[in-house]
Point group: C2
Amino acid sequence: MKYPIITLLLSIFSFGQVQKEQLNLMPWPKEIKVNSGNFILNKDFKININGASSDRVYKAASKFLRRLDGRTGTFFNQGFITQNNEFPGANFQISVKNVASLNLNRDESYQLSVSEDKINLTANTDIGAIYGLETLLQLLQNNSKTYYFPLISINDNPRFKWRGLMIDAARRFQPIEVIKRNLDAMAAVKMNVFHWHLVDDQGWRIEMKNLKQLHEKASDGLYYTQEEIKNVVKYASDLGIMVVPEIDVPGHASAILTAFPEIGSTPNFKYSVERNAGIFTPTLDPSNPKTYTILEKIFDEVCPLFPSDIFHIGGDENEGKEWDANPKIQEFKKSKNLKTNHDLQTYFTMKLVPMLKKHHKKLMGWEEIMTNEMSKEAIIHAWKGPNEGKPAGESLAQAAKNGYKTVLSNGFYIDLVLGVENHYLTEPINEKFNLNKSEIENILGGEATMWSELASPLTIDSRIWPRTAAIAERLWSDVSVKDVKDMKRRLSSVSVRLEELGITHLRNKGVILRNISNNQNTSAVEEFSKICEPLKLYSRNKGGTEYQMYSPLTLFADACTPDASDAVLFNDLVNEFTNNKTNETVKSQILEFLKKWKNNHSELVKLNENAPIIGSFLPLSKSLNDISTQLIYKLENNSNYNPELANKLWIECNSKEYADVELGIAESLKKLITFI
Amino acid sequence: MKYPIITLLLSIFSFGQVQKEQLNLMPWPKEIKVNSGNFILNKDFKININGASSDRVYKAASKFLRRLDGRTGTFFNQGFITQNNEFPGANFQISVKNVASLNLNRDESYQLSVSEDKINLTANTDIGAIYGLETLLQLLQNNSKTYYFPLISINDNPRFKWRGLMIDAARRFQPIEVIKRNLDAMAAVKMNVFHWHLVDDQGWRIEMKNLKQLHEKASDGLYYTQEEIKNVVKYASDLGIMVVPEIDVPGHASAILTAFPEIGSTPNFKYSVERNAGIFTPTLDPSNPKTYTILEKIFDEVCPLFPSDIFHIGGDENEGKEWDANPKIQEFKKSKNLKTNHDLQTYFTMKLVPMLKKHHKKLMGWEEIMTNEMSKEAIIHAWKGPNEGKPAGESLAQAAKNGYKTVLSNGFYIDLVLGVENHYLTEPINEKFNLNKSEIENILGGEATMWSELASPLTIDSRIWPRTAAIAERLWSDVSVKDVKDMKRRLSSVSVRLEELGITHLRNKGVILRNISNNQNTSAVEEFSKICEPLKLYSRNKGGTEYQMYSPLTLFADACTPDASDAVLFNDLVNEFTNNKTNETVKSQILEFLKKWKNNHSELVKLNENAPIIGSFLPLSKSLNDISTQLIYKLENNSNYNPELANKLWIECNSKEYADVELGIAESLKKLITFI
């Protein structure tokens, strides 16, 4: 009976040597060295913290234990960590030199080394240490019986200071739990600025003690209390995240003007909270002294809620229509020697600088605030690009050259629902603009922007994640880290791990599918959703009036996401096949897909009998069914193939008329018709 | 070309006549009459409210529109309803006579009538009206193209006044969003009392302004702020739900005594927050005047947070061990002429009555508070039953006979994870106790109790729902409504609809399955979970020390639920087959299941190669695989069938040793071995 036991032991303790290329780290660290051997995880795993006493690290380390426990089912004995040096002999030692202040100049570096019986994490600041914990979690490996960490040494530090995510809680209100889980997810990929878009045409979202009209008249009861805001700011701080609030002025002002119509640019106009999407005319009156009185009161109340030294005042998309139509404002412009509405807006914005300075805050605004007269202390948020008729990266380069600190969002507009590689390959320092060293230093980093016209609490996570992790890597890792295929491999691991932080991008898809399947089996709709993507580049919700901001988003397009999984697979296959038409394996895989979609269509037809919403995308599935029939003929050299019909069917497959989705495989179908 | 158009119209507008028996109403209404014809839903659907102006109805009606919209994708124009009589011509008219006060004597009745072009909902109170809205939502029907309501008239009213759900937020903290979504779900099945268990050995969960030690020392930072509590109370009130808080004294006191050891019954003992599950000794000292000083301060601060006129003081499971061990307390007992510890506890509890009365609150406690000296104004919460060595329903009957108002929880302990029929068939008015009319009137109703030793925010919904909807029906509907099969049919519809309120019982299962499958395909684990149920009757977490209260619950047992879907189907099949062994259809369905489980086992083996947690239940799947082989032999009359081996394998299939689950089909497997 000796042999079986030895074999068992060998099988338990046989670990494949992990290669650096197999690790699921994201963002990829600066320096990383993998050694042979492993640190095996068991119930005695224990953490000891020493150096600077930091609540931030205590909390992160306690949560680290629970997350590791949840993944492995180890049930560690160690509970809440609340003090330094409790277990000097622990096999995981964390050393922190200083407690960081939450500003852009904090040290975020850390060093992590794993040997067979000891893990050491050292950092200059507690924020560096909490990043090291995230890296360690991503290093977890397993065989069939055991969990372990590979022996490794990592030295890490970010490339950019500003790695942000903006969430628009104004258009569609996003409750506190949405914000908190997204903060957790941000920290998991080492992002450090949460930009909270709190005010827009569609709502004012801050409880006001002195100007109650704002939340009472312009929020539909959907706002954050001041206690909740402080609570979020503290929660973010514990994760090393700075919160930058935004109150968008002087345009996007329907909500503010619903509460205070007297400071609007159209006299005696009955402003109301906007229900649709788009760019609207309501604008504050820059010639009215009361505008500034009210704004000062607002800043006096809102600034103290946010310890960050930066305040975002919006400033975008003011087309000046109300100003043009009001002779009094035009007269005022003339009297101040201001040539354009743009100059008038700068006059307005410059009045806000001292209001913010009083609270030790720098002004930040969207790129429209950048004119000759704008203070060089302002931070320019670059957002325009090819969609707005500007070359990509130009505004950012311009701001940097003009001597402004600047943050890039063009290229990181995740609400465009483009494929992840579009964002991943957006490089903030664009060589074509020939920036010098000090100009490059003006580029603080970048920020993913999640506008919420088409994102509700149910769906917003699936619009942000996992894609934003790729943006986080662009902003943290070396410029040379840009292999899209490898990024996608790592992203798939990050995606599932985000669930432990409460991110709902995967789970809520099932909710929508069950809803539209009317409590029938969802597998056919799910299959179809794997090749459908929501309409891109703001082509959904035409004219901004198909849905209102209070309309639920529970339809097929809301269950679909960019980077649809089967579409990605099929497109790869078709590319391979067009490169090598003799590859029979690939050909048979393509045929399998085509047959699956045919079969799936008949399932959808049956499902539709008791689920009307299925009918909204059934014509698209029908077109796919029909073109699949043709392509099967073609690939199987069946004489029934009808190229003319195939071309006609392809046009139908390329339709964007059904259920606000498009087939993510349309181009590949075209290739199969054309190039095979 | 005329005919096709007519056919099309006919097919669009052909509606099957709905029978009363097909409706998915739960709880089933008092009187219901279905007429032929339908009210067809379209974009012009509009609500008008008249009568008493009620914020509660405005909110419920606005949300009704969004929920109906989310199900149908109709995109109604009507947004937020904020005033009476806005659209006098609307096709849905709601009339409310009075705004209800939140007490047990409110009128909860409503009348609903649907004709082809008009819906009328009338109610004496706004709470009745919001119940009517829930009924209407449950009435929604569809064919393949259209949504509609059947023509119907309903007259409804509950049987019991108290239809409660208790959530234990003390053992495992349950964040605000967990509470809010469960309140929404309660309202959807017309439940009206939320009993919030806020204090126990494992934690104090209320922010205190005057006795900060309580939340600072005894909550691990996991507590509700007073603002959050007020917010929940308001949220509940909008749903017609009364909130009854519980501070459990004098036992279950580890948390209180962590903050105030000086009022504990063991002098100089260093009390600490309990991390395990079980019954613990820490108890307040009833002989110490400071105990009452502190309790009075607590009630003075906590009572005003809860407008309800009832306050639950726990009082359960004080075994008096600390009292017995303390001579000073025994002396005190003697000096007060109190014979038993039970009498001493009554002395203690009676001191709380005036403290609560000061705040206009009646005292409620678990049944242990019922002694001869207990005030008849107290409400007795009956919880003991066969599990505790008492006949079912006896304590409730006793309390009613003793002249106490009383609420039943025995039979409604949903944390026992029993099948839903166990709770559904628990009838509060048990004939065997021969209660007279006034005694019956003492029975206020019942309450489902969700203790949280084994329920985290991730899993708690799946322990509460959908089962609690069956309890809600028991407490609302006529005693004659008790067809288990029909209840299960309706429950399946309620289950999916709970998702629109944020209930996570279905979606979070996927989260756990993805976690334990280690980002591989989850279908094999999901299959297996359809026949596995978590260990019942508190047999999981042996000794209360396998897990701690901070341990995550992310393993296979946490993904499993009672009433496992395939187990229910298979058990029905086997019952049918044992009744009629010549039924070949049933036999082949049974064979299909057995073959599926064999195939699934090999999938699990493969999955386990890269997912250690799968290994924890693999032996159970192996036993099922092996017994399936034998049973296939048996059913196919194959001579390889080995009855001895089958019996041996069955013992293994009946094991409760793996991964804290049991096979929900074990009894059926036994029947196949024995009776076929």
